[in-house]
């Protein structure tokens, strides 16, 4: 899959994905001159997001999920690998105009609604500015009307437009984040943990909003989260990351009801009732993954109760099992089924 030179939209083939990443890799150099180390934040990731699709990118801290969002948003440039937006490689977007266009098509909504807005400007300022920069088709009064339309479509009363960020609650601010993105007529919104800093009683509203945006505004979303339950609630597809690599991906219900990668099983067993949890994983203390000079071999092998010799030496590549893609040497093998039946 990864050696495909450039995605094509040949007739008869699947429709071209909205966004496609191939062999996406981001390394960070650490240390000084003499103790060089490399942090493998993202390694060899293939990812596709189709039109009108919510993809949940799930992982724990250090899994590389936010790095992927930043790579897709062009905040970081990849160490290697390519990102194609509607078949066009992002590496060729160089001019300010091109970048501006891309950022309007693929905006980002941030985790912390308390620091994402300029405190000295009213809420309308950011919205109007996005409209002025990205919507040249609109004139003054039309922009005002459009600002009101997008606010209403994210469930914000238009009288809030004249407020300052500190006068709003966290949930309202997160809605402003989505309104600002929506003002640019996006095709894909990159949402990095948009509900994790909100109170539980208002999270449902933002999750519902993401589903509405897909159904009503035809927007795709990449929903980055550590919470499997909310991923199940909104997403069409789930991609589970571990230590910078994709462990498992597939349709949401399949991945969550029939997890095939031991890491997905571990994550699930941590969120269900302890009485129903996978006994294989009871002893795991949740130590963070090793991503500095990780070397060859499966990165989950240190924690995996099923690991065998090959896991030490060969990095597993994603394989298709049913409707899922699983990067595990043993997935689907009888060795892993035993625990299920026990």
């Amino acid at each position: 899959m990864t050696d495909q030179p450039e995605p094509t939209s040949a007739a008869g083939a699947e429709p071209q994905p909205l966004l496609q990443a191939t062999a996406l890799t981001k390394h960070f150099r650490l240390g000084g001159m003499f103790a060089k180390q490399t942090l493998h934040a993202v390694d060899n990731v293939d990812l596709e997001i189709r039109e009108r699709e919510i993809v949940a990118l799930v992982g724990e801290s250090g899994s590389g999920k936010s790095t992927i969002a930043r790579l897709l948003a062009r905040i970081y440039t990849p160490t290697s690998g390519d990102i194609y937006y509607r078949g066009r490689p992002l590496s060729r977007l160089r001019s300010r105009k091109d970048m501006n266009w891309y950022r309007g098509e693929v905006p980002m909504v941030f985790q912390d609604p308390f620091s994402a807005f300029n405190p000295v400007h009213r809420i309308s300022h950011g919205l109007m500015r996005n409209l002025a920069l990205h919507r040249h088709d609109l004139h003054g009064a039309e922009r005002r009307r459009e600002a009101e339309r997008v606010s209403e479509s994210v469930g914000l009363s238009t009288r809030l437009l004249s407020r300052f960020p500190h006068e709003m609650s966290g949930g309202e601010r997160q809605r402003v984040g989505f309104a600002q993105a929506l003002a640019m007529r996006p095709k894909l919104i990159l949402a990095d943990e948009p509900v994790s800093m909100l109170d539980v009683s208002i999270r449902a509203g933002i999750l519902n909003l993401m589903v509405e945006l897909r159904d009503r505004e035809d927007v795709s979303l990449l929903y980055i989260t550590h919470d499997l339950a909310s991923a199940r609630y909104v997403a069409d597809r789930v991609v589970v990351m571990y230590a910078g690599q994709i462990a498992e991906s597939g349709p949401t219900e399949t991945v969550l009801s029939d997890p095939k990668h031991p890491y997905t099983r571990l994550l699930l067993s941590a969120v269900v009732d302890p009485r129903d949890a996978d006994p294989e994983f009871a002893a795991d203390t949740g130590e963070p993954p090793r991503v500095i000079n990780p070397g060859e071999g499966c990165r989950f092998r240190w924690r995996c109760p099923f690991a065998v010799e090959i896991c030490d030496t060969v990095t597993p590549l994603p394989r298709t099992i049913g409707t899922s893609e699983v990067a595990c040497h043993l997935a689907g093998e009888p060795a892993m089924q035993v625990a299920d039946e026990a």
């Binding site: 550590h226 969550l256 269900v272």
Partner: protein
């Protein structure tokens, strides 16, 4: 309750500011039995952490306990002097904070910090200190080699474990925890909670556990308090609240969470936001957000009523609520 380990009576805490005195905790009463695991849930600003600090006597100005008692082992902690409290801390009760990175001293090794706490209370030889420190560290599942480690050298999960080890240096009867797992990933969180439960069974201390995470409370606590806007909204055994929540706010909180298993259903959450505690209303504090509010809820303040073994602050469980229900079912039967 004569056999209670901790008895909180009418605890009221205010933040005294120039603009207004904000009553963050109002008239909270509950007790904790020896060996019990009490969960306290609520959203940000509901006063749960302030209350925990008020109980542990760790409030700093402008926060102040303005009324009420905290009876712990027969003494009212609110009235104890700093010296008397210092004598009790770590030894009789301990507190585990939300962020271990901030609660631990970054300049000292874990072992040195354990030593400080131990020597503050007892004359101990160097060998005894090392022995006890190694013992508690291994109790929480960390290799004793980490006594020489500094906080930044440990992972988030290990730091929280080290904090819990420190809280157990003297095996106190009460350990108060303020969101100790909320900064952790799910796997580390589960592992830490199982450890706390295991140690609690083994050593018999009581736990007051403050969190916003309903999942954690459901799985690990015996009894729980749901707090809203500085008051107890509902208090009952945990299973009872999850199976039959009585207060509309408890109901809303439980329904606000998606599940990883079972049928998918649409969540509603609780629209609106909590009230401004500087200007408390005369009625029920949850009324503006309540889906089943009655007319009288706007200007009648509910007390805590006993309803089927739970304490519930809601007018639906008074005569007014019964009347409303009767008239509603009357209307329904007319159709």
């Amino acid at each position: 309750m004569p056999d209670a380990l901790l008895d909180v009576n009418g605890l009221t805490i205010e933040y005294l500011t120039d603009a207004a005195d904000v009553r963050a905790v109002e008239d909270v009463s509950f007790s904790v039995a020896p060996g019990e695991f009490l969960g306290i849930v609520g959203e940000s600003g509901c006063g749960k952490s302030t209350m925990l600090f008020g109980i542990a006597q760790l409030l700093s100005p402008p926060g102040e306990v303005v009324a009420g008692q905290v009876i712990f082992r027969g003494k009212d902690m609110v009235r104890l002097s700093d010296g008397e409290l210092r004598h009790m801390r770590w030894r009789d009760y301990s507190v585990v904070m939300q962020s271990a990175m901030n609660a631990l001293n970054p300049m000292k090794s874990i072992g040195a910090q354990f030593k400080d706490a131990l020597q503050a209370h007892e004359r101990m030889s160097k060998a005894q200190v090392t022995e006890r420190s190694a013992e508690v560290l291994e109790l929480v599942g960390i290799d004793k080699a980490h006594l020489g480690s500094y906080p930044h050298q440990l992972s988030g999960g290990m730091r929280q474990r080290a904090m819990i080890a420190m809280a157990l240096l003297f095996t106190p009867q009460l350990v108060m925890m303020d969101e100790p797992t909320s900064a952790l990933d799910v796997v580390a969180q589960r592992s830490l909670m199982m450890k706390i439960r295991e140690l609690q069974t083994q050593l018999g201390f009581a736990v007051i556990f403050v969190t916003h995470d309903m999942h954690v409370v459901r799985r690990y606590s015996d009894r729980m308090l749901v707090m809203y806007a500085g008051e107890i909204a509902e208090a009952a055994p945990t299973d009872q609240i999850f199976e039959h929540p009585q207060h509309p706010y408890s109901k809303g909180l439980i329904d606000a969470f998606p599940a990883v298993t079972g049928p998918r259903r649409t969540l509603v959450g609780i629209p609106g936001s909590p009230p401004d505690l500087a200007q408390p209303s005369n009625g029920c504090r949850f009324q503006p957000r309540c889906p089943v509010a009655l007319d009288i809820c706007a200007d009648h303040k509910p007390e805590l009523y006993d309803v089927d073994g739970a304490q519930v602050r809601c007018l639906l469980y008074t005569e007014a609520g019964e009347l409303a229900e009767a008239s509603q079912s009357g209307v329904a039967s007319d159709d």
